[in-house]
Amino acid sequence: DQQVKQNSPSLSVQEGRISILNCDYTNSMFDYFLWYKKYPAEGPTFLISISSIKDKNEDGRFTVFLNKSAKHLSLHIVPSQPGDSAVYFCAASDENTGNQFYFGTGTSLTVIP
């Protein structure tokens, strides 16, 4: 029962272009969403988050969009840089029941110089 899904296991983007990573969830009680970035041999690193009361949150080159009706969120990276090459995990939680995060399976982003 995968409550958070990332249907694209990998994505390749040219340097300078936009990277769009997608995430779908099934639990309508989720109200807090995060993106983590993971390099090989390291733990996931927090990137950006969004609460369900918002539909967009921006931090520098990173923007997360939330579409609650579609139970969909996306991470946009503009412009993409080679250092962005990593695995990106989407995670969600229901803050009313605890702080357990449900992770997607990850999307491996490769930014080609």
């Binding site: 995968q2 807090y32 995060l34 983590y36 041999a41 390291e42 733990g43 996931p44 690193t45 927090f46 988050s49 995990f89 995670a91 803050e95 605890g98 702080n99 357990q100 995060f101 449900y102 992770f103 997607g104 399976t105 990850g106």
Partner: protein
């Protein structure tokens, strides 16, 4: 910048043996977690710990697993009798408020 640390980075053990995975969370954090990631699969929640007790645990976290914060700085995960399927990366995380969890680099557990 403060960070979560985990030791060892790689642990190899025989099936049936006990292992203890160690974590040092960020010093002023109040919430502590263990996750695992089996190779090629998603990151799975195991347990959360707050105020010196387990606050939530998943189905994976059965009687073979236990957690402890023995001395106010370390946070340990013990697996009493390891099984082959326990082979995974184990990540510790800590949080000040529970909203943003900071992860350690992980311990790779290999059960042979």
């Amino acid at each position: 910048e403060p960070e979560v640390t985990q030791t060892p980075s790689h642990q190899v053990t025989q099936m049936g043996q006990e292992v203890i995975l160690r974590c040092v969370p960020i010093s002023n954090h109040l919430y502590f977690y263990w996750y695992r990631q089996i190779l090629g699969q998603k990151v799975e929640f195991l347990v959360s710990f707050y105020n010196n007790e387990i606050s939530e645990k998943s189905e994976i976290f059965d009687d073979q697993f236990s957690v402890e914060r023995p001395d106010g700085s370390n946070f340990t995960l013990k697996i009493r009798s390891t099984k082959l399927e326990d082979s995974a990366m184990y990540f510790c995380a800590s949080a000040l408020t529970g909203d943003e969890q900071y992860f350690g680099p992980g311990t790779r557990l290999t059960v042979t």
